[in-house]
Symmetry: C2
């Protein structure tokens, strides 16, 4: 299938090296293609890991084993297989993942649980043992590659490679955070991202890293949706090598903790946005901001009801400021809302206030806004102080073309 680049794509940024992180890619030939499809990241001894995973109860072996590894808190390597998700493959799937963990841990002389494995692609086909083994062997012996090559190698149906770099000052020490991510369909919260990886040279303890990642996830990956579907493999991992030499951070009371948390949240939000920008068939990036809800959680649920509504998403695709469909989506969210207090704006222009269409509503600037590629929908429920922003894309013919044709 030849999918052209998303019109919302952004260029891959220049990404600095991270001390303690080396990247490699190889051809495992998981599918009948001639591209790199296995990514191997080697991490210096002492690296700590945190993770958030899909809530899909039919999750993959990789997710099950990943949760165990994250509980241990230390990591030496990451292997990402592209083209085969290895999900719903029973004991045969588990055997393949354990084989990779054994192969890499023998090479590094570490515990198998310190080798994190992810797989993405078709569900229901066990990862072939021989191809995985040969692929890992090739990666172990290969030269280092760039961040962009690694970002490209974890992709499947993505139309562009996705990376973000940010930095933070922890006291007098500058630390770097690099993230790569893949995902374009089957994206919805209660774990939004398909596969995302964040690497930093900061010195932080595993529990603190987990607290930062879990918190940031609530306001980033859990606030994006492409098609309301949730993959069986969704995973975001964060690795910290500690090589920057800052005074290690163990809790939010420690110096630099706030700056690090802000950097994690920043990189998570930027990575999440990149996934939406590659939403299958997306032609517009939509930010839905809900205020006046009874709580932040309630605002997020209302925002997701709007962002997941096929009728809202198709209206935006058609450049139609159809606020009636937004009303409908608010009402079906199952959250406290009062029709007669509801206000709705597109591109900052109120179309309806407190339950009534505005008599002097000027559609011209709204129509102009909807012609652009970045769309803002604001909803004020008029009830309380809760607020949240969620991000999605429009629903177009492209989504249908990709998903009615893409095959297993």
């Amino acid at each position: 299938m030849d999918i052209s680049r998303s019109p919302l794509a952004v260029p891959f940024p220049a990404m600095p090296p991270i001390d303690g992180v080396t990247l490699h890619v190889a051809r495992a030939h998981y599918k009948n293609w001639d591209r790199c499809d296995l990514t191997y990241v080697e991490l210096a001894p002492g690296t700590v890991v945190a993770g958030v995973f899909t809530r899909n109860v039919c999750c993959s072996t990789e997710v099950e084993l990943g949760r165990e590894s994250v509980t241990g808190g230390s990591a030496r390597a990451l292997v990402v297989n592209a083209g085969n998700s290895n999900a719903f493959t029973g004991y045969r799937g588990r055997e393949a993942v354990e084989r990779i963990m054994g192969q890499v841990s023998a090479y590094l002389g570490c515990n198998p649980s310190e080798v994190l494995v992810s797989s993405t692609g078709v569900i229901g086909v066990p990862l072939p043992l021989d191809k995985a083994e040969a692929g890992v062997a090739a990666a172990l012996g290969s030269a280092e590659c760039s961040w962009e090559e690694a970002a490209l190698t974890i992709c499947t149906t993505d139309t562009f490679s996705k990376g973000v770099t940010v930095s933070a000052m922890l006291g007098a020490t500058r630390v770097t955070l690099n993230g790569i991510i893949k995902g374009s369909g089957m994206i919805a919260p209660d774990m939004a991202t398909m596969l995302g990886y964040i690497f930093t040279d900061a010195a932080v303890e595993a529990e603190f890293l987990q607290a930062c990642l879990s918190g940031a996830n609530q306001r980033s990956f859990s606030c994006i949706t492409v098609d309301s579907d949730t993959s069986t493999s969704d995973t975001v991992l964060a690795f910290a090598t500690g090589k920057a030499g800052n005074a290690p951070i163990a809790s939010f009371e420690d110096p630099g903790a706030d700056a690090f948390m802000a950097a994690i949240e920043d990189i998570c939000r930027q990575l999440a946005h990149l996934v939406v920008r590659d939403g299958e068939g997306a032609s517009k990036f939509i930010a839905v901001s809900v205020s006046g809800a009874v709580s932040d959680d309630s605002a997020r649920i209302v925002g997701l009801a709007i962002a997941n509504s096929p009728l809202v998403k198709t209206a935006i695709a058609g450049g139609d400021a159809n606020w009636g469909r937004v009303v409908m989506a608010v009402g079906k969210a199952g959250q406290p809302a009062d029709r007669d207090r509801l206000s709705i704006a597109f591109g900052g222009v109120w179309a309806a206030r407190e339950g009534l269409p505005l008599d002097d509503y000027d559609e011209a600037p709204v129509a102009q806004h909807l012609k652009g590629s970045d769309i803002d929908i604001d909803v004020d429920l008029g009830l309380g102080m809760g607020r949240a922003t969620v991000w999605t894309c429009d629903l177009t013919h492209g989504y249908i073309a990709i998903n009615a044709d893409y095959r297993s």
Copy 2:
């Protein structure tokens, strides 16, 4: 907009008259069109009414007032406006509905609350008082029309008129039930149907009629979905004139109660299926049967997660037996499920059993089944005795074309 007839359309059936029910239609010119868009149904004195309504909290005035009328339990008339939903129109919308209720009740010499009003179409534009008044006046003075004309007049974006007739023997008395319904998009449970009306000559008490309708709704209108969206106006009303002369039924202990309940459930299910068959852009009618759940409710929620999944719906549109997407949808439903007990079949052929793809899975008969227009997906969760069937349609380019272009 010119939408051709749904490929899943069925012919309008021959429908017998119902004693105590007379049908009229008129042109209210709610939109700039030259078609009948106001339906007036006159009901004999003594008619009882029951209703189920949208759970959308941003519901229309018609729904609010309809709930009150149903509580009263008696009805003399039904007015249905097509082209304007009158939803989210504040006090101006309420004034229009009350005006219609007053106009008709003055004509019939009944209580205004005995006049039920529904409106369907664009949200956010108050129903114009003058057009409504002239339309009602024209309908009151018009000749009787046929069931098909009435069914056609309540339609908006529907591509075919929808009617069902069934009968039941209550003791020695045959009673007739006729139903008409409209709806093609913005269809999802917790009230599935947009506007549906059932008329019968049976003699039943209002509370019993309500119990029958509420029960049937759980296994019919609440089990269909086109796009997961829920309208602000969804309404199903049932009217019983009592003219058949059977011994009145007051409770499920009375003779004939079971037969009547079965007939109500039958007509509700048939009407619900017609809505799915006119799902926007639908090319395939999909029945998702879930068994082995921990409860019937749980089975229904899992079924709806599958039926609402854009990835499942596009796979069916593409004729792809992509059971991996079904696994994903089961897992995201938030209900008890165990990946390693899950079995999935298309067209009665198991693709996966107890968590593993079948080695001898023969895709040929499945591919043949998926070329047809009626698709069966069976899911066995392997946990308990709960079961449910839900119905939906596929997601096609037609849905996008209709909804990215349809305007307010």
